[in-house]
């Protein structure tokens, strides 16, 4: 039964109203809804790629190479006669997989480093943070390029190199959060009753640090997808015949005058998905903690 009197309203558990407030703010802006819908569409495309794609993305047909968009091939065919639309649909899988796994790696390692630096302070903090500072001095795309090149390219090496390149931002934010949460009374109380460091960190500190980190993870998904596309555009990323959007832009570059859509379409997809993650990240930030505006 829904609460009707003032007394009943006052007795509502605060968590419920907090969640309602989150939903109201998050879905209150049209652009955030747009971003959410776009992400959902891309996720569905990735999940059901074999059902959606009109052709086999790897099936070559040199007799039909470089065809212009037609009813048969909506986005035309590439230099090997493969259906461009089908390749873009399959490319969704690579983009999302690389983005999600590499950001996952960066989040776990970065948060652990930030947690240790912030919680233990002193020499632990100095060692970890100077290392993070050093990583911040190298442009992420260059760091990822160097690591991926040394490891030898390929899907997993790209994921690892992007994961490493994204660690610094996660670690920095986590450390800042830990420093402020550590001052809270409930942490002091935990120390007083003799709770172990591990217990305080996992039960009291980490959960209270999460909101801004969730925002950063969402924004980093966009960064990771953009970087993966950049690496595969440069030719270091995912190896052919896999359909990676960045590599497709590069393949089409040579036929820019005759078949511009070969370069335009995959690049547009990269932009669309990155915008979607940025918009949702902004929406999450406003809904979870508006004070973060300008810092994230």
């Amino acid at each position: 039964m829904s609460p009707s009197t003032t007394e009943e309203l006052l007795e509502l558990p605060p968590k419920a109203s907090e969640f309602k407030r989150f939903v109201r703010v998050f879905f209150g802006r049209k652009v955030v809804i747009f971003g959410t819908v776009v992400i959902l569409l891309f996720l569905l495309t990735a999940a059901f790629a074999p059902l959606i794609a009109p052709y086999d993305p790897y099936a070559q047909n040199l007799g039909k190479a470089l065809e212009s968009p037609s009813r048969e091939h909506m986005l035309g065919t590439d230099p090997l006669g493969r259906d461009e639309l089908s390749r873009i649909i399959y490319g969704t899988r690579i983009s999302l997989a690389v983005g999600i796994i590499s950001v996952g790696i960066a989040a776990i390692i970065g948060m652990a480093l930030g947690l240790f630096a912030g919680y233990f302070g002193k020499i632990t903090n100095t060692v970890i943070m100077r290392f993070i500072d050093a990583m911040m001095a190298i442009p992420p795309i260059m760091l990822a390029l160097a690591i991926a090149a040394a490891l030898g390219g390929g899907l997993w090496n790209v994921i690892i190199s992007l994961g490493v390149a994204l660690i610094p931002t996660q670690a920095r934010l986590m450390r800042g959060q830990v420093l402020s949460v550590k001052q809270a009374d409930y942490v002091t109380a935990g120390e007083v009753i003799g709770a172990s460091d591990l217990r305080i960190m996992t039960l009291h500190i980490v959960p209270n640090c999460l909101p801004p980190l969730i925002v950063l993870i969402t924004l980093n998904l966009g960064v990771a997808i953009l970087s993966e596309a950049s690496l595969s555009f440069l030719g270091v990323g995912i190896k052919p015949p896999a359909a990676a959007w960045g590599a497709m832009v590069n393949d089409g570059y040579r036929y820019l005058l005759s078949n511009p859509v070969l370069s335009f379409a995959p690049g547009f997809c990269v932009m669309l998905i990155v915008i979607a993650f940025n918009l949702v990240g902004d929406g999450l930030r406003d809904a979870l903690d508006p004070r973060l505006r300008g810092t994230l």
């Binding site: 001095a137 190298i138 440069l234």
Partner: protein, 315 residues
């Protein structure tokens, strides 16, 4: 202020030392025998042995690092396998090109983004604000290599206004250079443009809410005076702190933009060396870039220490 400068200087040196470890480790990430990977299958045993000795691979890792570091401190980054030149002179010859494009892009980006951010904040919720915010969001998400290709398609291939690719020194042919760098500079400028606009806007919105702005308003000051004299000075500090990161992002962007427009800067050199497996050059590029970025960060920190007395008095 002297103590503040000294502290930041020491921090920068420490950061650079750690960067050197990261740079050193790049070669050691190569699976198997780095010398064999770099020289390829056709190399003779003597060539491989010679490179192993040059890289010091026969020594313990710590000894290798210290010997390599001493060399680096003497400006010796080794010899490029592809070009036969010293890595230092190779990188030094490419840096000016990247700087030329990067500095113009940074100035252009800053000059447009700060006023755009102010306008968006002052006219919050209005048509101009929405237009500026949407453009900034697009700028954050657009793949630079793709933007470059769109530009080449429209302005070079379709309209024929600008050359497709290439870079000529401004000292050799100024007008050709100008035509060649228009598109690369605009592509590069998108990076600082988008993020500085967002930062200026949110930082202005933050400041406008403060008590001293309300006081200034209630005194009956003109809106122009309030915005430029009272608000902007405080709002600009977080924007300045971002400038250091912008230098880093510009160099990152140069990897892509120089590839699309076929410009022989440090970004193109690095990409080419990756394909040639010329890892000493890759290592040299990373080190040199990190050095420049660390220096830029130091300058930025010193300048906002000067802009905001609270920062230099910390601790």
């Amino acid at each position: 202020m002297a103590a503040f400068i000294l502290r930041r200087l020491i921090q920068t040196i420490v950061v650079l030392l750690i960067v050197s470890i990261i740079g050193f480790l790049i070669i050691h990430l190569i699976p198997g025998d780095p010398a064999l990977t770099m020289l390829g299958e056709n190399a003779t045993q003597e060539q491989i042995n010679a490179l192993r000795t040059q890289l010091g691979l026969d020594q313990p890792v710590v000894v290798q690092y210290l010997r390599w570091l001493i060399n680096v401190l003497h400006g010796n980054l080794g010899k490029s396998l592809m070009y036969g030149e010293s890595v230092t002179s190779l990188v030094a010859s490419r840096l000016p090109v990247t700087f030329h494009l990067g500095i113009i892009a940074l100035i252009l980006g800053t000059l447009i983004s700060v006023p755009a951010g102010i306008i968006a904040a002052v006219r919050r919720g209005g048509v101009l604000d929405q237009l500026i915010t949407v453009s900034a969001n697009l700028g954050m998400a657009i793949p630079l290599f793709w933007l470059g290709i769109l530009g080449i398609y429209l302005f070079s291939l379709k309209l024929g206004w600008l050359p497709v690719q290439g870079y000529t020194s401004p000292f050799d042919n100024f007008s050709l250079n100008l035509k060649q760098i228009i598109m690369p500079v605009i592509c590069l400028a998108v990076v600082p443009l988008a993020s500085l606009t967002r930062q200026t806007r949110s930082s202005m919105l933050e400041v406008i809410r403060q008590d001293y702005i309300r006081t200034a308003r209630s005194k009956g000051l003109k809106e122009r005076v309030i915005i430029f004299k009272h608000a902007l000075r405080n709002a600009v500090i977080p924007v300045v702190t971002l400038l250091g990161i912008q230098v880093r992002n510009l160099v990152g962007g140069s990897v892509l933009v120089e590839t699309v427009f076929n410009i022989s800067g440090i970004g193109r050199l690095m990409v080419k060396s990756v394909f040639d497996k010329d890892f000493l050059v890759v290592q040299g590029c990373v080190l040199m870039i990190a050095f420049v970025v660390a220096l830029a960060n130091l300058l930025v920190d010193l300048s906002y220490g000067w802009l905001d007395p609270r920062i230099r008095q910390e601790e």
